[in-house]
């Protein structure tokens, strides 16, 4: 039917038929060849051509499968591919859709690389905990590379281009061929024994996979791993990854880049130092300003008491004024009271009474005088009366009638009895007129009757 006359198919139809035919009959094939035109665009799919001396085969490996690859296929590499055949309709190409790749021939090295890498990874040689920090301002840099290779040339060029204040110590080694790995490993160890470097660059310039192979050797990996000095690996070009790169403390894409990394830090450090110095100054200035502010605040605070004193003084003045006023009021009130009391007191003054007393006294006095005069008059009358009577009764009157009075001396007692006298007594004799002093010659007590 398919091959009947004039059964005309469209290109698509035919292509579809061919595709079905291929897919049904070549569901799984193994094919080997050399890789060329390798491309891995952003899609992640892997495109390449497998070829041998006489033929070539377009191959694609879709992303899911490509991602599972443990090595990177390269142009010229011999590969064994497992996959299925299909047709890329749009171009009419038939192609192998690869599902699994493995290296062939030189691919054995790749395999060794993969195997070593996996083994060392399992051992933990690549672990981040082993990564030493690269000093930020190394002053002595050790370099393990060929004395005649591109690497040292590139590194020195970078150092020249930059104004680099570093000392470079080269430990020249063979970087490829027989014994290169042993030399590299020994150089790393030598630098550790020597000690007087801050960081080490281990590497070489670009080359084929075989050229770079020494850096994939276990002995180098172990030496780098046990190095106490930080190691920067710098092998080949950007795309070249070696075991040394994985075990090193830092991977530089190229030797020049390694030199740049080591030196770049100087500019960064200068900037950092400048920034820190600036911040230091700023912080101090701010601090001092703050302190000044505080101090000024305190100074102001110190001034305050005077104001406070002013306030207090003012208050004091106020109190004083008020108390004076109060005092005055009090005094005024008291004065008024005193006046009142004084008046009242005045009313109670004894002068008034005194006056009255004086008047009374005068009255009494006059009455007394009148009474006295009267009494005296009466007394005078009485006296005159009695004096008359007395005159009548007076012994003196008797004397007038010739009688005399004898009085014994010295007592002067009146002698009425002669018995009272004895001879020799002195007596006085009172007469009406005058008298006599006499001495008794004799006395007797018998009454003498006069005739």
């Amino acid at each position: 039917m398919l091959f009947a006359d004039k059964n005309i198919l469209s290109v698509s139809q035919l292509t579809g038929l061919v595709r079905n035919l291929l897919e049904e009959n070549f569901e799984q094939v193994w094919v080997e060849g050399e890789v060329s035109n390798l491309a891995m665009p952003g899609s992640g799919h892997l495109y390449f051509t497998l070829k041998d001396a006489h033929a070539q085969l377009r191959c694609v490996m879709f992303r899911a499968s490509a991602r599972a690859l443990k090595f990177r296929p390269k142009d010229g590499m011999g590969l064994i591919v497992r996959g299925r055949l299909s047709v890329f309709d749009a171009r009419g190409d038939y192609q192998l859709i690869g599902e699994y790749l493995e290296p062939k021939g030189i691919g054995a090295l790749q395999l060794a690389f993969i195997q070593l890498k996996e083994r060392l990874a399992r051992e933990g040689l690549f672990a981040d905990v082993h990564k030493k920090e690269i000093p930020r301002l190394p002053q002595r840099i050790g370099i393990v590379t060929s004395a005649t290779g591109a690497a040292i040339h590139d590194i020195l060029q970078v150092l020249d281009r930059r104004f680099a204040n570093v000392q470079v110590l080269l430990r020249p080694v063979k970087v490829q061929g027989e014994g290169a790995a042993e030399e590299i490993a020994a150089a790393v160890d030598d630098f550790n024994r020597y000690g007087k470097i801050d960081v080490m660059i281990v590497g070489r310039g670009g080359g084929s996979l075989e050229d770079l192979w020494a850096f994939n050797e276990e002995i180098v990996a172990r030496a780098i791993h046990r190095s106490a000095i930080p190691v920067i690996s710098a092998v080949g070009h950007e795309v070249d990854y070696t075991i040394a790169d994985f075990v090193a403390d830092l991977r530089a894409p190229t030797p020049s880049a390694a030199a740049e990394m080591v030196l770049r830090s100087k500019a960064e450090l200068s900037a950092e130092l400048e920034a820190l110095s600036h911040r230091l100054g700023m912080a101090m200035r701010r601090l001092l300003n703050e302190q000044w502010g505080e101090l000024n605040g305190l100074i102001r605070a110190v001034k305050d008491p005077t104001m406070l004193l002013g306030h207090l003084a003012q208050r004091l003045d106020d109190f004083e004024a008020r108390s004076c006023r109060c005092m005055r009021q009090l005094l005024t009130r008291s004065g008024d009271r005193i006046h009142v009391l004084n008046d009242r007191l005045g009313m109670q003054s004894p002068a008034v009474r005194l006056e009255r007393c004086r008047e009374l006294l005068l009255l009494l006095q006059s009455r007394l005088e009148k009474t006295m005069v009267h009494t005296i008059e009466r007394a005078g009358q009485s006296l005159a009366f009695n004096a008359g009577k007395l005159e009548a009764l007076s012994p003196l009157a008797t004397l007038g009638r010739g009688y005399s009075i004898v009085r014994k001396l010295p007592e002067g007692g009146v002698v009425a009895d002669g018995g009272q006298l004895a001879p020799g007594d002195r007596v006085e004799i009172m007469l009406r007129k005058g008298g006599a002093l006499c001495r008794v010659e004799s006395a007797h007590g018998e009454a003498v009757r006069k005739p």
Binding site: P135, R136, L137, P138, Q139, G142, A147, T148, I152, H153, L156, L159, F163, A164, N165, V166, Q167, V168, L169, L170, R171, P172, D190, F191, R193, Y194, D198, K266, L269, S270, E272, L273, L276, S277, R279, L280, A283, M284, R286, L287, E290, Q291
Partner: protein
């Protein structure tokens, strides 16, 4: 090693700056810290500007000792 000293100094400087910026120091401590910072900064600056470039080769002698000598790049 001078390198370590440089980095220690830079770290110290950074600590001092942070402390000062924190503003929790007394004035006296601040001045001390500032002085310290200035010292470290001067040291770092000196280290950065020390211009000494030398390229040598490390050679191992038969007895295992190391010697260095001036490196003469060979132009091919």
């Amino acid at each position: 090693m001078a390198v370590e000293k440089f980095e220690t100094a830079l770290k110290k400087l950074e600590e001092v700056v942070k402390k000062l910026e924190g503003g929790e120091l007394s004035l006296e401590d601040s001045l001390k810290a500032f002085e310290e910072g200035i010292k470290q900064a001067a040291f770092c600056s000196k280290k950065l500007n020390e211009a000494e470039k030398r390229v040598e080769v490390l050679l191992k002698q038969k007895d295992g000792r190391f010697v260095t000598e001036r490196f003469q790049p060979k132009d091919e």
